[in-house]
Symmetry: C2
Subunit: 210 residues, 2 copies
C-alpha cells in the first residue's frame, strides 16, 4: 500500500511528481468565536476571488492549490474579508509544497497576471501569529528554521520562541507577506516543506495579566 | 545566534537535551464557535486537573509539558470538559517530543500514578479529526507516515488522505487514544517528531451537500 502525508491514492507509486510541478497549497480553517460564525465564514468566502486557485472544502477545512502567489493571495483575502471589528477570530493553516505523494488539483498552474484579491491590502489591522516550519527529509532542518526566525527579526515582526513554535506580531499584511516569503525561501531550499501558522485577532486575553 | 523550532534561548547551544529527557508536550488552542467562548474555555480549564503537567498560556495558545500519558490526559480532559451539545468547537494542537533546542518546563518528570482526568472517558461523543505527522531529520519520513496511517485503519478510524493531512473519524476517546499511540510509536522511532491535529465537533457542514 502506498500512502503519503498529503494525497494518498493507493494506485500511485512514490513518483515524486509533487516536487516536479510548481504547485503549492494551503489547507486552512477559519474560527470566528461568535454564534454567527456561519454567515461570517460564508460571507468571507463569497467576497474572496478564488479564480486563480483550485479549491476543495470539507467539514474540517478548505484547501487552495495553485501557484504560491495566488494561493497566498486567496488565503489573505479570505481572512481579511472575514474580519469584523471586535470579533475574536483565528485562522489555522498550513502552507506546503513538494510532498512526494502529491496528486490532484493541478489546475491553473499557467495562471498569470495580478493577484485577484490585492484590494484587501487597503484594510489593515493588528494580529498575533504563531508558526512552525518543517523542512522535511533533511538533517539540517534546524538551520533553515533559524534562518526564517532571523527573517522575522529583519521584518520587524518581533519573533519570540515558544515551546514548539515561534510567535510574531504586526499588521496582518506584514504577517502574510512574511509567511509568503518563508514559503518562497523554503521552496528554493528544500524539496518538501510545511509551514503551519495560526493568525489571531481581537483576542480578549490580556497577556500582561497572565 | 542559536535558534530552535521550540524554545530558542540564545545562550544555549544545540545541546540535544530535548531528546535526552522523557518530556513530551502539547501546544493547543480551543475554538468554541460561540459568543460565550470565554466562559466555555475558562470553565473547561477549571474542570481539568493539570497537576501532572507543566502549563503555560498566552493569547494564542496553551502548552502542557510532562510525561506523555499525563500530557495526553490533560488535553483530552480539557476538550471533553469544554464540550457542549450543539456547539461547534475545534481544538487545534501539536504533540511533540525531541526538539534539539528544547528547554524549560522540565517539571514533573517523576510524576507517576493514575492519570488525573481519567473520569472524562465516561463522556463520549463523535468527532472528526485531521492530522499531519512530521518525523524530523530523517529521509524515510514517508514510511513512518504510512505506518501511522495503517494504525488508523487497524483502529477502525476510517482514515482518508486529503491534501497535506489525513482525516479520521470516530468517538472522541478512540481519536485521543490513537493520537497518543502515534506519539508513543514516534518517540520510539525517531529522535524528534511533531504531530499536528485538529479535532472538530458539532460542525453544521453537511459533507454530502458539498
Amino acid at each position: 500500500m502506498q500512502q503519503s502525508c498529503c494525497c494518498g491514492r493507493e494506485d500511485l507509486p512514490w513518483s515524486g511528481r509533487g516536487t516536479g510541478l510548481d504547485i503549492s497549497g494551503c489547507r486552512f480553517s477559519l474560527y470566528p468565536m461568535d454564534t454567527d460564525f456561519v454567515p461570517i465564514i460564508l460571507g468571507a468566502l463569497e467576497h474572496t476571488d478564488t479564480s486563480a486557485v483550485w479549491s476543495e472544502s470539507d467539514a474540517l477545512s478548505t484547501v487552495y492549490r495553485g501557484r504560491l502567489p495566488y494561493v497566498a493571495d486567496a488565503v489573505r483575502g479570505l481572512f481579511v474579508n472575514a474580519y469584523k471589528p471586535g470579533i475574536h477570530m483565528a485562522l489555522e493553516g498550513q502552507f506546503s509544497k513538494g510532498c512526494p505523494g502529491d496528486c490532484d488539483g493541478d489546475s491553473l498552474l499557467d495562471f498569470d497576471g495580478p493577484a485577484p484579491n490585492s484590494q484587501v491590502r487597503e484594510k489593515g489591522f493588528p494580529a498575533l501569529c504563531k508558526l512552525a516550519l518543517y523542512p522535511m527529509g533533511v538533517s539540517d532542518y534546524i538551520d533553515h528554521i533559524a534562518g526564517v526566525y532571523r527573517m522575522a527579526q529583519d521584518a520587524g515582526l518581533h519573533p519570540e520562541s515558544i515551546h514548539y513554535a515561534t510567535r510574531i506580531s504586526g499588521d496582518i499584511h506584514q504577517i502574510f507577506d512574511y509567511l509568503e516569503q518563508v514559503c518562497r525561501r523554503m521552496e528554493q531550499a528544500v524539496p518538501h516543506y510545511i509551514l503551519h501558522f495560526t493568525v489571531s485577532v481581537n483576542s480578549p486575553t490580556k497577556e500582561e495579566e497572565l
